[in-house]
Amino acid sequence: MGIFKEIVDELRGMSVRQLVSQVLSLGLIVSSAFMIWKCLILATGSESPVVVVLSGSMEPGFYRGDILFLYNGRKEISTGDIPVFNLPGRDIPIVHRILRLHEKSEASFDPEGARVDILTKGDNNYKDDRVLYDPGQLWIHEDNLLGRAVGYLPYAGMATIIMNDYPAIKFLLIGFLGLLVVTSKD
């Protein structure tokens, strides 16, 4: 508890000017994190450039809690790629591998419909993903994709999973880090 006492003492001893400057520096940290995130989105073309693996369906390649870096660039998507995709009406994105892909020709392309039909499957799953899609849905399409996995960092997303499972830990951690920044001297 020594740390907390130190922090409280330090806060008490601050002038208004000091306090404002510390709050501003906290704001700077938050906004630079936000800027880095937005720059990553611009550079990768993916609206969610870093994702945490939430299921074991790609084991032993990816485990729950591992981090994937996504890219959503110009190179066309191909069978064997590992895209992250969203199914309409569901919050949690899925990381699976493309099993089949059919790109329609000019002649059969319906301007209202999708150009590329994609079927996915988890490496560790016995069956393809039609059981996960909405009933009657046979394919997903390019607009479902958030990007393809191009980089891998193990375990690093475990903190996110723990914080999602126990929200109290999240608030404690954020509060504690915030206090630490506010009271730290340059």
Binding site: G61, S78, G80, R97, I98, E103, K104
Partner: protein, 171 residues
Amino acid sequence: MHSATYRLNAVATMAFTGLLALCLAVSVTELAHKANPEASLKMHGVHHFKPLGGNDEAVLSFQMKGDLSSCFSWNTKQLFAYIKIVYETERHVRNEVTVWDKVMTSTEEARIEEAFLSKYALVDNGSDLRGRDVNLTLAWNVMPYIGALYFGEKVFAAKMPSEYMSDGRQG
């Protein structure tokens, strides 16, 4: 100045920076890794070839002699090897259908010399497979312990039978 928080912060920052540099260094070593995978693959047989619900379906078998073990570096967790049939039809400019895959976690598993049946049927999105020239592509995804994922492939030619058949007999 020399408070507990400062020491804790300094140690944590140092550990984190060191870990990050190490991770980066390990993933960069992959650039120096040269692989020379060898493989030959050919269609061994067509065991079933029929339309089902408007879509052509075929069960194939393959003869493969391959050694992908040189793709393993010290940072390679596994290879995901797969065979895809790539072809073009009037209705679709690009069809890529996976018919076989295997997770290879050791160099021993990356050496294959055998004939085997397709794991998934070759299913067309339509009925345009008869007499079709197709590319038989053996591809592999190198999956690391840490760092970038990358792909390699070798392409072989094959041709689908011009008539539907079952159990190797035309009809």
